[in-house]
């Protein structure tokens, strides 16, 4: 498409520069998108992609740089101006309002005139035309993530956009939902709508996009036709160095069952929560059990139940090292040798305003013997925190800095290191690399694998299928609070997992066909 030299570019950016305090987010960035082109903007977290699209959409003002729209120089002062030009944006973190209905949410994001009478009929028509089923009267909090994304897309389509910006659209979708989204995007492209597609998933970009601009550290580091590149060559442009895939020893002999869950039921009294129903599995020494699932299917509830933040009703439903701990709190479970890495780094994994060594003390005081007669052993604690920083290459001057002064990846490395240095026999991590840059993610993956190789039982709950396939020994799927039987990674494909993530109702298998896994695997009811 981009070959048509006579055509005017739909969008042309020249020399966009944006300086944030202490960080040059965009440095002389240029970008051209032709009509009907699906253009990938590729880069790691922190590469400056979000700043650039926020500039296009009028949320952020650049210090320097020019934007041309259909050959005319324009100055987009706010999102309303962008929408009037015909720019629509689907945010990564949806700009939706939970307690409002689908129709109300859509009305908020479009002009007053468009939001007038007959809006609901128009929503229904568009959602039918483009295969994006939506009920305008539902409240957003009752919808799945995929449905929420449809709201954003329908909201954009109602405005008949000429350029659609999609920020990491598939990070929250099942593979099947993503495939459905691509059908819609290809159709829009055929109708002449340009799409700026932001992602770091190379396979999708190869399959979907006509052209790609690659960013690193705020600068454009490459431009390419994805179809002519390999995933590896694009990854190298994106990351800048050669990344090592995590090394796994496939010949690890599994040891004893260290973590055993049997018929765990946790009813929720939260309207937006998920009840856990009859969950049973076990994790043995030396293995990593991955739990896949779309957000909001019981992962947080499972993590709370495992960490002891929510106690089980039956003491016999959770066993650690052969001891029933269903009614034991987090402290007791830690003492038995369990390490936890919660999803939320700031506020759950670490106290944001406290220093790193104080945070190290809070989780390690018992296992690391950092307390004497009610006093903190400050020197020992600082030594412990410093050794975490050193061994896990946490980028920070020293352990007297507050947890919230670290970047996401560095803080996650610190939290992970803090737990691993306590030499846990069971490690439970929820979304261990969420929002972490690729380098830190690879490091964390390797550490988890090493931990398992050294004989710990590791449980990783994650939405990132690539991550689970890279590190897990076995994978189970959690959907609507129920967990499937775990299967060996070698017996699974991404498609199978994707179907199961869509809901237990779609479970394609019959129980007899499942391979037998040693060591008391129980079946879903």
């Amino acid at each position: 498409m981009s070959s048509a030299a006579t055509e005017t570019a739909r969008l042309k950016l020249t020399g966009v520069t944006k300086q944030y305090p202490g960080c040059l987010a965009n440095d002389d960035v240029s970008l051209t998108i032709m009509p009907g082109e699906i253009h990938a903007l590729l880069g790691e977290n922190g590469a400056g992609k979000s700043t650039l699209v926020k500039f296009i959409y009028g949320v952020v003002k650049a210090d320097k740089g020019m934007m041309e729209w259909n050959g005319q120089q324009v100055d987009v002062v706010d999102p309303n101006a962008a929408r009037q030009l015909g720019i629509g944006m689907v945010f990564q973190h949806f700009s939706l309002f939970d307690s409002l209905t689908v129709a109300e949410n859509i009305a908020l994001g479009i002009s007053k005139e468009l939001a007038g009478p007959g809006l609901e009929e128009r929503i229904e028509k568009i959602s039918e035309d483009y295969g994006l089923p939506l009920d305008p009267h539902r409240h957003v909090h009752s919808l799945s993530v995929g449905e929420r994304q449809r709201i954003e897309i329908v909201r954009c389509l109602l405005q008949e956009p000429k350029l659609l910006i999609m920020d990491e659209p598939t990070s929250v979708l099942t593979p099947q939902e993503a495939e459905r989204l691509f059908v819609t995007l290809r159709r829009l492209s055929a109708e002449g709508v340009s799409i700026l597609y932001i992602s770091h998933k190379l396979d999708e970009i190869k399959a979907l996009c006509h052209a790609a601009t690659i960013m690193r550290g705020g600068r454009v580091t490459g431009e390419c036709i994805p179809a002519e590149e390999t995933a590896k060559s694009m990854a190298e442009m994106m990351i800048g160095t050669n990344l090592k895939a995590p090394e796994r020893h496939d010949d690890v002999t599994l040891g004893d069952v260290r973590l055993k869950i049997s018929s765990l039921n946790v009813p929720t009294d939260d309207q937006f929560g998920v009840s856990l129903e009859d969950i049973s599995f076990d994790v043995r020494a030396g293995e990593i059990l991955g739990v896949a699932g779309i957000a909001g299917n019981g992962q947080t509830e499972l993590m709370d139940a495992l960490s002891g933040e929510a106690l089980a009703s039956n003491n016999e439903s959770i066993w650690i090292e052969g001891e029933a701990v269903g009614l034991t709190g987090p402290g007791g479970r830690r003492q038995l040798g369990v390490g936890f890495v919660p999803e939320e780094r700031l506020g759950h994994g670490a106290v944001p305003d406290m220093t790193l060594w104080e945070n190290a003390f809070l989780s390690g005081m018992k296992r690391m013997n950092l307390m004497s007669n009610g006093f903190m052993k400050i020197k020992e604690t600082v030594d412990y925190a410093e050794s975490v920083i050193k061994q896990f290459t946490v980028k920070t001057p020293d352990s007297s800095h507050a947890a919230n002064s670290l970047s996401g990846g560095n803080l996650q490395k610190f939290i992970m290191g803090r737990e691993i240095m306590q030499s846990p026999t069971v490690m439970i991590a929820l979304q261990p690399t969420w929002g972490v840059d690729a380098g830190a993610a690879a490091f964390i993956h390797q550490e988890l694998i090493n931990l398992a190789n050294n004989g710990a039982a590791v449980l990783v709950i994650s939405q990132d299928l690539d991550e689970l396939f890279a590190i897990s020994t076995r994978i189970a799927v959690i959907a609507e609070g129920r967990m499937s039987v775990a299967k060996n990674v070698s017996d699974l494909t991404v498609e199978q997992i994707g179907l199961m993530m869509g809901g237990t109702h779609d479970l394609p298998d019959d129980p007899h066909a499942q391979p037998h896994v040693e060591g008391g695997v129980s079946h879903v009811s």
Binding site: P79, S95, L96, S99, L100, L108, A115, D270
Partner: protein
Amino acid sequence: MDLFVAIMVNVAAASTPLVFAAMGELVVEKSGVLNLGVEGMMLMGAIAGFAAGYASGSMLIGIIVAGIAGGLLALLFGFLTQHLLANQVATGLALTIFGIGISAMVGHSFVGISLDPIAKGIPFLEDIPVIGKLFFGHDILVYASFVMTALVFYFLYKTRAGLILRAVGTNHDAAHSIGYSVIKIRYMAIVFGGAMAGIGGAYLSMAVNPMWVEEMTAGRGWIALALVVFATWRPGRVLVGAYLFGGISILQLNLQAMGVTIAPQLLAMLPYLVTIAVLVIISRDSGLMKKHAPACLGKIFHASS
């Protein structure tokens, strides 16, 4: 029957200040701001309205000035919390203390003066037998409070501006990214809330008890705040809650007058106790609370760009 009508007129008078103050606070909280300064703004309205009414001889001017005074104090709250990003709880408490102090200072020279109360009753209509006095025997502000309830409901749930206000209270980051001015919308809600609290306060000093007494709101600002929560942020329930409180406070006065052998101190506690008890019971339904509670309530909004 006459006694009943008289009681109902008193109930309406006792409830109306709460309706105004709570309805204002409801709009403020729906926009995601928690202003604990209702008591202070009511007192400001009470003394400003009384002084202006006394000086001008016009009730209408008194009410308008009360609204302006409450609104101005709220504007101060808005500046501190929206521009200087001060903590809303601390600022609201400070506003109440400030309002108590400044109203006492201004009111010092008005102590002992009394004002003609605002006229009650709608001509002709109040002469209808039986229901006349019951429905048309009140002063104009009682009716205004009902109209205000309906307007607030209509605004919040039927207009685009109301939808935007609710959206800002639910998720200010999303509202900002779509392109709404969170701070401007909150300013307007805060000032409206202050004006309503001011009018509610003026109703006390101009209609219920037409004179100035220091701290004459006697905790009604706090009750108004509690009502908003107890009503799970719904205008209709705020109205019901205000009349529950007003009704019980008049009922206990009548019980005292009838010589019931319960300690008057206990009876005087009754409206507060019942309102709090109902509040606690209703708040137990966490699902209902979540559905209507503004998710950003009390959170500071800091535009990241």
